[in-house]
Symmetry: C2
């Protein structure tokens, strides 16, 4: 049985990517990264809940809170105000100030490269042949490190920067999905979506107002699936 | 004055790269990474000594000791024995068991990608336009993440994975140098080579026996420069 490193943030997209890896017959080694994000504790709980659900023993939790020290993102820096609706206006087609070329201030500079580099180091040591990452190009509109183009170039970096005998493939099973398609696929695979956490704020229950909550709610609505985490 | 992030391990190659960045007119932001290597404390001291020498104020020290937890390298794992002479036999042309295609066991899986990812995140936030890394392709023979090919592919990952307005160039000023050329160039630029640390073991003075010490000694010998750290 081949092994895959699955990047499991605890969010819905990574939850479905994990389900996809298991569905494709991989043994899953789950990687979670704390990067000093405001919702760190809640996301770690979601990571462990999903791992428990799937009986995943091989877990690695890594702290890269230097990304928070470096700053530059509303997700890690309390002095930068979360601009709500910046994603929502693009996604839902409403009028807004955000232009398509503007990168949202929730972008954590080059975060996915940092995470993929760790995943590759781990994959090379444990002999995993795939890395699953639940990046979504369209729904995260404007994050440069969520594009297919970025993942293709990072794939080349992996091919050139690891041992000749190492073969690791980046897989992005939901990259072209809209949020409702992720919900639908998750429901099909029996993914524990109710254990995932999407909200950009910390709390016992999701705020229901941030961009991420709104995208999630909309996704469940369009997919006509009940979000059991809201029951 | 443009800013460059300089990766400053405290070794000779990065010391000369730092001198090169200053020589080219950059304001230097120095980045040091602890990755759980056995010589961590001594290298950090060398980093600070070199920064002090150049009056570099902007310093960032990052801990990525998860690379040590991940393991797979003699540099981070005490249970893997440092194979001495594995570089030396290749470099010095003597007979040995190591074949050219074999990656030395001092290779830390995908380390340079991890380090470059951090450097890129920092560079993007502070507006640096260059990253200097003192990688050497030939002298580190067999490290896949020290090749020109790897750096070119990582450059593409930076171009695609950062904001459209971000421009960061990876510069590898010593990549094609042999060790003695690094010594010569360092001496020309007045780099504080005597403050750098090369030894793979920990101690007050270099062991003089490990691959890294032998390469350094040979470099100074061929360049006909005195290594003041050995006086």
């Amino acid at each position: 049985m081949p092994t895959a490193v699955v990047l499991l943030s605890g969010g819905m997209d990574s939850c479905v990517s994990c389900a996809e890896a298991l569905h494709q017959g991989y043994s899953v080694a789950a990687l979670h990264v704390n990067y000093g994000q405001l919702t760190q504790d809640r996301e770690l709980q979601a990571f462990n809940d999903i791992c428990d659900h799937y009986n995943i023993d091989q877990r690695l939790v890594v702290d890269i809170s230097h990304l928070a020290s470096i700053g530059g993102s509303a997700l890690t820096d309390r002095t930068i105000q979360l601009r709500t609706n910046q994603l929502a206006t693009e996604q839902f087609g409403a009028e807004g100030n955000s232009s398509k070329s503007e990168v949202p201030n929730t972008y954590v500079p080059f975060r996915n490269a940092n995470i993929l580099a760790i995943a590759t180091s781990w994959a090379e040591v444990i002999g995993a042949t795939a890395i699953f990452i639940g990046a979504v190009q369209e729904d995260s509109s404007g994050y440069p490190d969520c594009t297919r183009e970025f993942f293709e170039s990072f794939q080349t970096a992996i091919n050139t920067g690891t041992k000749p005998e190492t073969t690791i493939q980046i897989l992005t099973p939901v990259i072209d999905f809209k949020k409702h398609q992720i919900v639908t696929r998750g429901a099909e695979l029996g993914a524990p979506l109710h254990k995932s956490w999407s909200c950009y704020t910390n709390g016992d229950v999701p705020c229901g107002e941030c961009d991420s909550c709104r995208l999630r709610e909309r996704g469940f609505y369009v997919a006509q699936v009940t979000d059991e985490s809201r029951l």
